[in-house]
Amino acid sequence: MATITLDKIAKRYGDTVVLNELSLTINDGEFVVLVGPSGCGKTTLLRMIAGLLEPSQGSVRIDGNDVTQTAPGDRDIAMVFQSYALYPHMSVRENIAFPLKVRRRDPAFIQARVNEVAQQLGLDPLLDRKPAALSGGQRQRVAMGRAIVREPKAFLFDEPLSNLDAALRGRMRGEIAALHRRLKATMVYVTHDQHEAMTLADRLVLLNKGTIEQMGAPLTVYQRPRTRFVAEFLGSPPMNFLAATRNGAELFGNGFKLTPAADAAAQPLPEKVWVGVRPEALCLSPRTHAVEAEIDWVERTGSDGFLYARVGDAPLVARLDASQTHPLEPGSRITLGFDELSLFDAESGRALGAQS
């Protein structure tokens, strides 16, 4: 088990900065998910932990030892790739045994370990097959077996589920979570999928343009986004944003007027703000706050109903109970109420204190 420390680590290609002096400590046994949009540097970060990429600057420490210049194979970490990277010419057994074999471990030990791991992952009947003869989920499990087999200090996952279909992805998510519970190993998991990030992480690290935008427990990050970027990234559908101008204690927008809770006034609001409302916070009756909206269209998914509307020019999505959406027709005007809102500085995108 290991603590991984990244100290002012940076990666540059010429003038292009991929990671910018980023520091992060991943605690022993912790499940950290690196999440962010494409190009945010999350995979680069993971590959630098693995040793597949050399940082332009800064250092990587595992359990206090500087491994920045250590070869990947000598860092005692395992990695699961998005493509699984199974050796196509080897059987499942040979694939799982490979890390032990190249380390010249005792054949009897290798065999015992492989069998143990195969049993854990339910791969026993497949041991003599080639990867080409496996399904996506089975390949995924072989890749995990190859990582588990040598009991590394830490596991790195690079978008391991993105090549699977939705149903399988859910199941494998559960298996990875169970694996973490069982092994209690340090795990660093890269994904762009917020479901995986929210469900798996002990701690969620949201990256944007090579820097950490926000990190913390998934629910905390979800509920208290520190920037508009975080609020927009987490949540599906994402948070709605309405532009507003402050006038005294009131906020005026195109077609609405809001009075934020009194404690918000404790802190002077800037003149221009974004009002953020989660789609699930909206309902069809007036609450603390209300806006007038015109319905564009309605989507019903069985349990949920998604209402796509406009407040003035700004688009707005509301997530309602499917039964509530039945009388609604495109073109009609309605009042949407909500209690909770987030305020962001229109210029910097930073969250403002008031959250109710």
């Binding site: 040793g51 990947p72 194979g73 990695m79 790739f81 490979f98 190249v102 080639k130």
Partner: protein, 725 residues
């Protein structure tokens, strides 16, 4: 039976022929080129002016297929009325009944005796009108040789003074018997016994001629040992060779302003006899049954003094007519020298056995010229080799059982095909007629270009070709090759020796192709390498150049005296290597050439396969702890391997049959030991007295070996793949 065999064999060998000539027209064939062709045309035009009523067609037939075309065309009533050919084909043509004798007696006042004699049959009849003769004389640079040597001692003394510093006193292709013949016959040696059934060059006289060659090439080093015709011409033009033994055709190759003169070949100092080169008489022959008056009139005119003058003046031809040598216009030219030389010549022998002597004799000369064998031994071995090659044709076999087997096999195939064909085949064929229509042109093309020649070649292996004779011999050719009883297994003529060389050749080549191709592909893969694309293109270039051009370039590079490789060795202070004097250097020269040609194919294949390996696999292996060497053997190699198998199979087949390189670079030297199966098959057909059947059997055996190899590799592969999945 023999007629059937002949028909089949002719069909196998010879292409379609020009249409029948109209009776009113006189058709003349020749294989002259350039000046000689123009001079002949001029003479014909003179005749046309005198006889406008006679239609004449003159056809220049390429020399390569000349004789075969005559053999095929004349009996069928196609072909020429008159044709020009060399006298050494006379015996064969009479035997094949292709020509009629000259209807009227030829005047010894008009023609030189030496040109009449070789054309005379045993009954005293003339079988052709003599037109010209070709023989060798001594050319010398007047700026270097003040006094042409009259004896071989004088020749040696003169040449010694002019040899050194990359210059040679004398030059001619040492290892070609035609150029050695002056010394051979001058020393009193003979090629064949009086009855022409055996060779006679294991004689003291032949040995004496060999001693002279030794003196020239080994002891005094007056003659470049590695010079072919083109090199001799270049050396003489550049002043690097002061004297050259050559024929009338040489004049056209010389620089116009070159200071040179001709003189008859010298007298052999050892026995006081003049050197006697071979002479070839070019004659006009009358095709069988074409002695119409207008044909005879044209023939008489072409060989008349007026006709001959056209050729002598226009093309410098040493003509057969006495009168021309008194012609004041030609007195100062080269013709009188040839005329003088003609009195000391030996006519080119015409006995069938002579076709077999050239290759062994050339080999003997090569051995003497490089000092490997004493002249006595060399000529003895050559004689032994001719006797070895001069096997009687295998006994004629009864074709009936063979025909029966073929018919039964055909019937069997047909029965099985009909039995296994599902009903309604016809309607299905009709349904898919559009598809079959599209396939038809290819099917016809493949049948005509691949299928028919293949079957012909297969059939040819069951016949034996003798001079003027074709007979069905069944499996005799095959059994003779496989049993290989005539030669010990270490003899280059033995099938098993050649087979072993071929296998070694193939294995060495494919291994080096693979090693070099793989290595270069790995070098060219890293993305940080600057100019990768440029290197790739440069390294593919050897593959894009036609291989015979590369072969000729390498042949030049490996030349013992003038090649760049020996020059480099000498510059480094190393002794020059005689590349084609012993087996391993010659084999390595071939190998180097073919490796140069072959590695790009493997490199391209490996490059493609390397690029198909996902980079993730390498990352995974690195994280798993595999070292660079482990990554190569456990990831790269197993991934590239499957792509390499077809390339190796193909490369093996190509190399196994890589005719051009062996034929052009080592030419089989020494003693045919570097020959591979295909070049050996070629030599049986085209060098050793036209044993087409034997050569075809060789080809069939090569085909069987390669077919077995292909089937075997496929079996092994599918077995391995089956075990894997």
């Amino acid at each position: 039976m023999s007629a059937v065999a002949r028909g089949v064999a002719l069909l196998c060998c010879f292409a379609a022929l020009p249409a029948h000539a109209a009776d009113s027209e006189v058709v003349v064939w020749h294989s002259y080129r350039a000046g000689e062709a123009l001079a002949l045309d001029a003479a014909v035009n003179d005749f046309r002016a005198q006889h406008p009523e006679i239609q004449i067609r003159v056809l220049a037939v390429p020399y390569g297929a000349y004789q075969q075309k005559l053999i095929a065309a004349i009996p069928g009533g196609h072909g020429p009325d008159l044709f020009i050919a060399a006298h050494d084909q006379l015996g064969d043509m009479v035997k094949r009944d292709l020509i009629d004798p000259v209807p009227e007696p030829l005047s010894a006042q008009q023609f030189l005796d030496e040109t009449l004699a070789p054309l005379r049959g045993p009954d005293g009849k003339s079988w052709g009108w003599p037109m010209a003769f070709k023989t060798l004389v001594l050319f010398y640079r007047t700026d270097q040789v003040p006094e042409p040597p009259a004896t071989t001692d004088a020749l040696i003394a003169t040449a010694e003074k002019l040899t050194g510093d990359g210059r040679f006193g004398l030059a001619y292709p040492l290892a070609e018997f035609y150029f050695h013949a002056p010394w051979f016959f001058g020393a009193g040696a003979e090629l064949l016994t009086a009855d022409a059934n055996d060779v006679r060059f294991d004689s003291p006289a032949a040995t004496r001629s060999g001693e002279l060659l030794r003196l020239f090439a080994v002891e005094k080093k007056l003659v470049p040992s590695d010079a072919n015709g083109a090199l001799v011409t270049e050396m003489f033009n550049q002043g690097k060779a002061a004297m050259v033994v050559n024929g009338p055709w040489f004049i056209a190759e010389l620089r116009p302003d070159l200071p040179y003169a001709l003189t008859p070949l010298p007298i052999l100092s050892a026995n006081g006899t003049p050197a006697k080169p071979l002479s070839t008489i070019e004659a006009l022959f009358l095709a069988k049954g074409r002695a119409r008056p207008e044909v005879r009139a044209l023939a008489t005119f072409l060989v008349s003094d007026a006709g001959a003058r056209r050729r002598a003046v226009g093309a410098g031809q040493p003509v057969a007519n006495r009168a021309l040598y008194d012609d004041p216009d030609l007195q100062n030219g080269p013709l009188p020298v040839f005329r003088k030389q003609l009195t000391n010549t030996v006519p080119m022998p015409t006995a069938p056995l002579t076709a077999l002597v050239w290759e062994p004799l050339n080999e003997a000369l090569r051995q003497i010229a490089r000092g490997a064998l004493s002249p006595e031994r060399a000529f003895q071995e050559a004689a032994a080799r001719v006797r070895l090659l001069n096997q009687p044709l295998p006994a004629e076999a009864n074709p009936a059982p063979y025909v029966l087997v073929i018919l039964l096999a055909l019937a069997g195939v047909l029965t099985v095909a009909l039995w296994r064909t599902p009903t309604g085949l016809l309607s299905r064929l009709v349904q898919a007629r559009t598809a079959y229509a599209f396939l038809l042109p290819t099917a016809i093309g493949m049948t005509l270009l691949v299928g028919v020649p293949f079957l012909m070649g297969l059939g040819l292996g069951f016949f034996a070709f003798g001079p003027g004779e074709i007979r069905f011999v069944g499996f005799a050719n095959f059994t003779s090759i496989i049993a290989a009883q005539e030669y010990p297994i270490t003899h280059p003529l033995s099938f098993y020796f050649t087979m072993a060389v071929t296998v070694l050749w193939t294995f060495a080549n494919v291994s080096l192709h693979l090693l070099l191709g793989f290595g270069l592909a790995l070098l060219l893969t890293p993305s940080w390498l600057k100019g990768r694309a440029l290197f790739r293109v440069l390294l593919i270039l050897p593959w894009t150049i036609p291989n015979y051009i590369t072969a000729l370039i390498f042949k030049g590079l490996f030349n013992t005296q003038f090649g760049a490789i020996n020059a480099l060795l000498e510059a480094m202070g190393l002794p020059p290597v005689h590349w084609f004097d012993s087996f391993w250097p010659a084999f390595c020269a071939n190998l180097t050439t073919n490796v140069w040609l072959g590695f790009p194919f493997m490199m391209v294949t490996v490059l493609g396969a390397l690029q198909a390996i996902p980079p993730d696999l390498y990352d995974a292996a690195r994280v798993d702890g595999a070292s660079a060497i482990q990554r190569f053997f456990k990831v790269t190699l197993p991934q590239v391997g499957p792509a390499l198998v077809p390339a190796v199979v193909l490369g093996t087949i190509w190399t196994f049959n890589m005719f051009n390189i062996v034929f052009l670079v080592s030419e089989g030297q020494p003693e045919g030991s570097t020959d591979i199966l295909v070049t050996e098959a070629y030599r049986w057909a085209f060098v050793r007295n036209g044993r087409y059947g034997y050569a075809a059997a060789y080809s069939t055996i090569i085909f069987v070996i390669l077919a077995l190899y292909t089937v075997l590799t496929r079996r092994l592969l599918s077995a391995r793949q089956g075990a894997r999945s």
